[in-house]
């Protein structure tokens, strides 16, 4: 990975927290600068030292302010876990807002994975011995790729919430055509912006190579990634999640992994299902 992980700055407040070993669940905003000059941020709660740290990653084009992510983070912090919830930069310094589909997206999947590695190292540098990776939606794909690519022994478990494939309706004729077209453009060195179907975006504006970096993570590749994973993995899915299409949940169930489904829950585990989600995650961490 070309990103050398350097922690340039860190909050004085955070240092105080670490030294005192506070057990309160007060979250602090961490700002760091990557080697490429981009500034990234994360929410961090220092938990009890004898408990693992959770790294929670948001979904596609979202931030750590996503309700599912931030609420889960608060719940785990209350349980005494250290919680780190980074916001992927997606090529933007100090990104604070979720990005719209229509804005140019030159960012790459690999850069996202590298940022995960940056934050894992950030935790390790602070003496964390046990890390649980928790992803939401397509954030799981980056974590899956990461866990296979960077096998740290401190990473103990992977909990995938609402795990879905990147390539929306992959296998559809139109998607296959746009995928092949993009491959052709990359070969020709064409860096122009194009419209694509990707994840929930009907008009995802990106150069072909950036698009392919995400779109290549289709269902089969994810399933292969899960099979190859050396970590214990627990998948938590909402039964009413309308993004789990084309029998995706059945394909996941066919894997030798534990799948926990929540009746009535949607993709974001809204409303009362939020508590079901928290219970399931806490239980999965404890097991």
């Amino acid at each position: 990975m070309n990103h050398t992980i350097l922690s340039m700055t860190s909050s004085i407040l955070l240092a105080c927290h670490l030294m005192i070993g506070s057990t309160t669940a007060n979250a602090t905003e961490i700002k760091e600068r990557l080697a490429n000059g981009l500034e990234v941020s994360a929410e961090f709660s220092q938990g009890q030292r004898d408990k693992p740290a959770a790294l929670i990653l948001h979904g596609f084009l979202q931030t750590q302010n996503n309700a599912t992510v931030s609420n889960l983070g608060n719940a785990l912090a209350t349980e005494g876990l250290s919680v780190l919830a980074p916001t992927l930069s997606l090529g933007i310094s100090q990104r604070r807002q979720s990005l719209s589909c229509e804005t140019p997206h030159p960012h790459h999947f690999d850069a996202d994975v590298a940022e995960v590695e940056f934050w894992v190292n950030w935790l390790l540098q602070r003496g964390v011995k046990s890390i649980i990776l928790i992803g939401h939606s397509t954030g799981n794909v980056q974590l899956l790729a990461y866990a296979n690519q960077y096998p740290h022994q401190e990473i103990k478990k992977f909990i995938a919430i609402s795990l879905i494939e990147f390539a929306r309706e992959f296998g559809g004729k139109q998607n296959i055509l746009q995928f092949r077209q993009a491959q052709k453009q990359v070969k020709q060195g064409d860096t122009r912006l194009n419209d694509y179907n990707l994840s929930y975006c009907n008009k995802y504006i990106a150069p072909a190579d950036a698009y392919l970096s995400y779109a290549s993570w289709d269902g089969n590749r994810i399933l292969a990634g899960i099979r190859a994973l050396k970590l214990p993995i627990v998948i938590i899915a909402g039964e009413a999640d309308d993004r789990m299409r084309n029998g995706w949940i059945n394909k996941l169930k066919a894997l030798p992994v534990k799948i926990s489904t929540v009746k009535g829950a949607n993709h974001f585990f809204s409303d009362i299902h939020e508590f079901d989600l928290h219970d399931r995650v806490i239980k999965a961490i404890a097991e």
């Binding site: 700002k31 500034e39 933007i92 310094s93 100090q94 604070r96 229509e102 804005t103 140019p104 912006l193």
Partner: protein, 852 residues
Amino acid sequence: MFEFIRQPGLRLSITAYFVIVLGIGLLLFVALGLVVSDKGRQLNGEIIRMQRNATEQELNTALKLATDELEHTKNFLLNWDEVKQQLANPNYYDYWRDNRLKSSAQISKTVSGIELYSIGKERLQKTPKDSLPARFDETLLGLRAVNLGGTMLLQYGLAIKSEGHDDVLGYVVIQALLFPALQHSGALQTLTPDMISYSLPEAKIISIDALHTYQHVVMTDIPAAAGLSNLISRTLRDFLGIAALLAALILYLVIYVYVRPLRSMSVYIDDLRQGKIGATASARLAGIQVKEIVKTRQSLQAYHQQLVESTAVVQQSETRLRTILDNVPDGVLSVDVTGTILSCNPAAGKLLAMPQNELIGMKLADLVKPLDGQDGEAVAIRKDGSRFPAETTCSAMHDEMQAQIVILRDITERKNAEDKLIQLANYDPLTGLPNRTLLRDRLMHSIHYARHHKRLVGLIFMDLDRFKNVNDTLGHQYGDALLKLIGERLSSILRESDTVARMGGDEFMIIVEDVHQQDQIAETATRILQAVATPVQLGEKNVLVSTSLGITVYPTDGTDPDRLIKNADTAMYRAKELGRNNYQYFTEEMNTAAMERLEMEQELRSALQNNEFLLYFQPRIAMQSNTLTGVEALLRWQHPHKGLILPGRFISILEDTALIVPVGEWVLRSACQQLRSWLDNGGPKIKMAVNISARQFQDQELVNMLRNILNETGVPPELIEIEITESLLMDNLQTTIQVLQEFHRIGVLVSVDDFGTGYSSLSYLLQFPLDNIKIDQSFIARIPDDPSACTITKAVIALGKSMQLKVTAEGIETTAQADFVRAEGCDEGQGFLFARPMPATQLQLQFFKTPN
């Protein structure tokens, strides 16, 4: 020419008024013109001043809003992640600028251009198409105004930094065309571009705060307002000259065209009023050709003609009205407020039997006396003092005398008809006594009186005994005469305060009022019994009647009329039961008995259908041979709850309700069927005696019924013995003889029951086709101790023998009684000594020889 100005009765003539009004009008107009002229000048200056102030205020407001919008856009761009993304990666700047930037709702419409500049202050857009600078320089920082070749611009430049750091990522410049920006702000209402001038030198860059010192509102005088006063002054002068000329002309016209003819018109109207049409004034008017005057004259003439015609119509109408008034049958009188008669029609005179002229001047109150409480009804008095009922209707005439019209109508016939109706509704037409309705009213009244004065009221229900016999034997004519006579007798013996009423048929009711002690009622009842018992001469016959009385007393026996009447009826019924010709006070027990009787009556009605009746048979024994000669069929009622009931308890109810007819038929048929059954089964040929009641004798179908039953059952008639009572024989001789003769023809035997208790006339007895007499058990019971009973028994047996009739002794209970009658030659005996009444099967077992 001003000879008309002073007119008699007028202070000033029309002409003078006209001159004065015209003069005042001209003065007011001149004053108004001067005031308006001065105000016009003041207004002009004020408008310009206010307009300039308002416009400058408006301009400043618009400028503030436009700069606020630029500020808003600046803040948005600073915080928009995508701006930073483009500065970091300008490869896709054109796409971003053309799509995302333009479509952002956060960009104000005031903005006419946005440009991003790299850290090196180079413009990101490669091919500029706007007036934005190619490089970012320090003068662009902050908000400023620029005069660029005559086009006023607002520009806002700033550095975009990484959040929380001083590192500059790039720069942005936002630009707005000044005047369109002011318009976009929405604050400009009246300002147009040509009303603003700028004193800003070309290409000069100034701070936005100083902009207002370079812009000016251009305001000029309003030409219309400035010229207003001059115009008014000139117009005023011209108008005054013309007005003077016109005034003189109008004055001439008014005098010669209108005032003079008006005077002639006045004279003309006076002529018309005096009936002098066509006099001098008319001639003068004819020469005037002023349209309005001509029209007025024509209208006046038409009005005069109409008036003449109307008068004729009114006269005709009055004649018609007079004719109507003279011929209506009702008296019509007009009276003044004091009630004095002013006029009247002939009918009034006729009604009051007085000439019309005599009536006028008299007081109406002396002739017509209103009846208190009778609306419109009065008594009118004729000249001779006789009176008649009248109806009066008054209505006001609404004239200055406040006179009233009084219509007087003779209602003698109507009153007579009403009285007749009241009589019919409340009185019995036969006796002239109050009927049930009036009785009820009077009783109610008596009760109220008694309640108030703590007195008693006696109510006597009276029913003549055996009145039906009178009707049946002598005819209804005599029956009615009897009722009428009884009514008169009752009226004669009662106090005036008491009421006697006929309730219908032979029923009367007497209210004894104002009673202090109950004895008073009993005295009245006794008097009634005596009065009725006095023999009555009806035609050639002397008739003896009696009556039964039931008495109820208020408040002891009831407090409302209906209850009192009902209880009196019950008491009367009791008096009947106790042998008639007496009175009975009502008691609660009577009510109970009546209720029981009513209940039994209802049960009896269903008893026949429910097969609750059955027959017992009491043997009759030949006194000499001591063998069975016959049986008497006796009715029993097997009540579902009360058990076996003897006839003494219910026969009278059957008779009263006429149920005796179907029950009697059932008895006869059942007895015949039983006899047939015995005969068919080898039983002895014995007689079957069946009792027939008086009520059955009145049934015209009795004979046919007997004949049919005999045919149905095939029983030999000679084995059937019909038992009738002695009293029945005597009650209705003619009918009885006919029926008995029919029986005789059929072949059945006839027996007289209870012989010795009635008052049979021997001569009548000889006329009846009889076969058997039965000595009443009351005589047998006293044998042998009572010599008179023994004598009567002997006599009866001897009589039977002499008349060649069989004799049966009833109620034999002892051997001595049996021996006695046997010794006297009595043929048959019946009684407990031989056998009690028993069911058919028991009789068979006890008296019939078994086949073996």
